[in-house]
Amino acid sequence: MPQYFLSVHHDEAGQAEMEAMTEDDMQRMFGQVGAFNDRLMAEGAWVFAGGLMPIEQSTCVDATGEKPVVTDGPFAESKEYLGGFWIIEAADLDAALAWASAGSAACEGKVEVRPFQSE
């Protein structure tokens, strides 16, 4: 069965919005995402999912040279960073898009759907 990467991207405005969220708003959103995750598992579509710590906590490693080089910060300066993701199994793109639209409503953010390479 095809697998899809459902990613949620945060830009600076979105990050500020998140930080300004009240405790109640936060709990409501976590509740929505939790219920969505439960549905993914119940229907056998769940592979993996996770939310990521802020981009400032990123570290890059480059071992293409002689010695691995470790640097603080993201791979590339960008206005948008990956905030969280789901990996799901779905019969086809229509099924994946239906999951993505439920996921987008649950996490209150835009969701990008990208197919994995199949072997």
Binding site: D92, L93, D94, Q117
Partner: protein
């Protein structure tokens, strides 16, 4: 002979590719096999004669070519996925199933996950059987650009697993609207080409859109919007001969109604009547009804403007858009005068749309406000590259009194 074989091939292309795409699950295999079958037909038909069912012949021949190719690839690479398809050797069915295949292919080509321009290109290539060079010429982009656009779209269909499926009833109306929009876009680009160097009317595009409209009508006879779109295209196309004279666009009120195509009008009117009995109005049906009112009038003076204004008001209610309001204003001008119409037009957010300025120019002219009318004609000219429309607007502007 060669040209008649090519015509048959183009007509059957959608059917052949759709059937092979279902059987082999791969658009490239389907398309390549269809092209190989054409080569065989070009060699054999002039000698043996055209077979009684050329579509079935092409599908069978293309199917054999596809199997040959998959066998060759399997020998080269035992793990090749496509080789698995060979065990799914479903027998060829020339009717019924094949019609459904074309519809499935059409919904895949017009999938909302593809960019609009890619949907148009894929539909013309796979269902319309136009060559990449023809599509590139129709949209005035380099052939390599168009080839890339089509290749990318096909790769996305394959890689993202866009299904070859007629959507479930719950999604059908919305997805069908996307398909109809692609067909109507092809028609409109043909009917009033936006391109500077192209001829004002591109029959290869209007004809192809109507052909696709007829195919859809056969496949989805119970969808009134499908009938509505076909009626709209037929009633618009019926006026094609009267639309350009001496390189200049002739607006509807000034057209020679004797040269309208009566046969297309009769067909369009019958479709509009059939839609009315279903009582499930939609935007294409309402636009078709507007055109039915126009083509019903023996002279401009006989036009039932109140009916047209009412139809546009209905359309505004179900699909509000400034373009619809602009059209309603044209009818209002005939009923309540240019001043009332101008008040409707002026606030519309359409300043980059040529027809907005052309409509304003005409209303201002009728109100005797020549200087403003001239400015509006200039704005309309700046917003269109269509040579026939430019010729018309220029003459009207230059006829304005001081």
């Amino acid at each position: 002979m060669t040209s008649s074989i090519e015509r048959i091939f183009r007509e059957e292309h959608g059917r052949v590719v759709a059937s092979l795409a279902r059987r082999f699950g791969d658009l490239d295999v389907a398309e390549d096999a269809a092209s190989e079958a054409l080569l065989v037909a070009l060699e054999r038909w002039p000698v043996d004669g055209v077979p009684p069912n050329p579509g079935a012949w092409l599908t069978t021949t293309a199917g054999n070519k596809a199997i040959d190719r998959i066998r060759r690839e399997r020998q080269r690479d035992a793990k090749h996925q496509a080789a698995l398809m060979i065990s799914d050797d479903t027998p060829h069915e020339p009717t019924g199933m094949v019609e459904d295949d074309r519809l499935r292919l059409l919904f895949a080509c017009c999938h909302p996950a593809l960019a609009l321009e890619a949907r148009v290109a894929l539909t013309l290539r796979l269902l319309g059987g136009l060559t990449v060079a023809e599509i590139a010429a129709a949209f005035l982009v380099p052939e390599t650009t168009m080839a890339q656009r089509i290749t990318r779209a096909k790769a996305k269909i394959k890689g993202a697993h866009i299904p070859f499926r007629v959507p479930a009833a719950a999604d059908l109306a919305e997805r069908l609207a996307g398909v109809l929009a692609v067909v109507y876009l092809v028609f409109n680009e043909g009917y009033l080409s936006s391109a500077e160097d192209a001829s004002p009317v591109r029959e290869e595009l209007t004809d192809e859109a109507i052909r696709l409209g007829r195919v859809l009508r056969t496949l989805l006879p119970d969808e009134p919007e499908v009938a509505g779109l076909l009626a709209l295209m037929l009633l618009t196309d019926a006026r094609r001969r009267a639309r350009v004279a001496g390189g200049e666009l002739v607006p509807l009120p000034e057209q020679d109604r004797g040269s309208w195509d009566r046969e297309l009008i009769a067909e369009g009117h019958a479709l509009v009547r059939a839609c009315l009995t279903r009582n499930r109005p939609g935007q294409y049906q309402l636009l078709a009804a507007v055109n039915a009112v126009h083509t019903d009038a023996a002279t401009v003076a006989d036009t039932d403007w109140s009916q047209i204004a009412a139809l546009y008001a209905h359309l505004e209610a179900i699909a509000p858009s400034p373009f619809v309001t602009l059209n309603r204003a044209v009818a209002v001008a005939e009923l309540d005068g240019p001043e009332v119409a101008l008040a409707l037009v002026d606030p519309l957010p359409l300043t980059s749309y040529h027809a907005f300025h052309a409509t304003r120019a005409d209303l201002l002219r009728r109100l005797g406000r020549s200087a403003e009318s001239r400015d509006a004609y200039d704005a309309a000219l700046a917003a269109t590259a269509n040579s026939a429309e430019r010729a018309y607007l220029t003459r009207r502007r230059d006829q304005l009194g001081g």
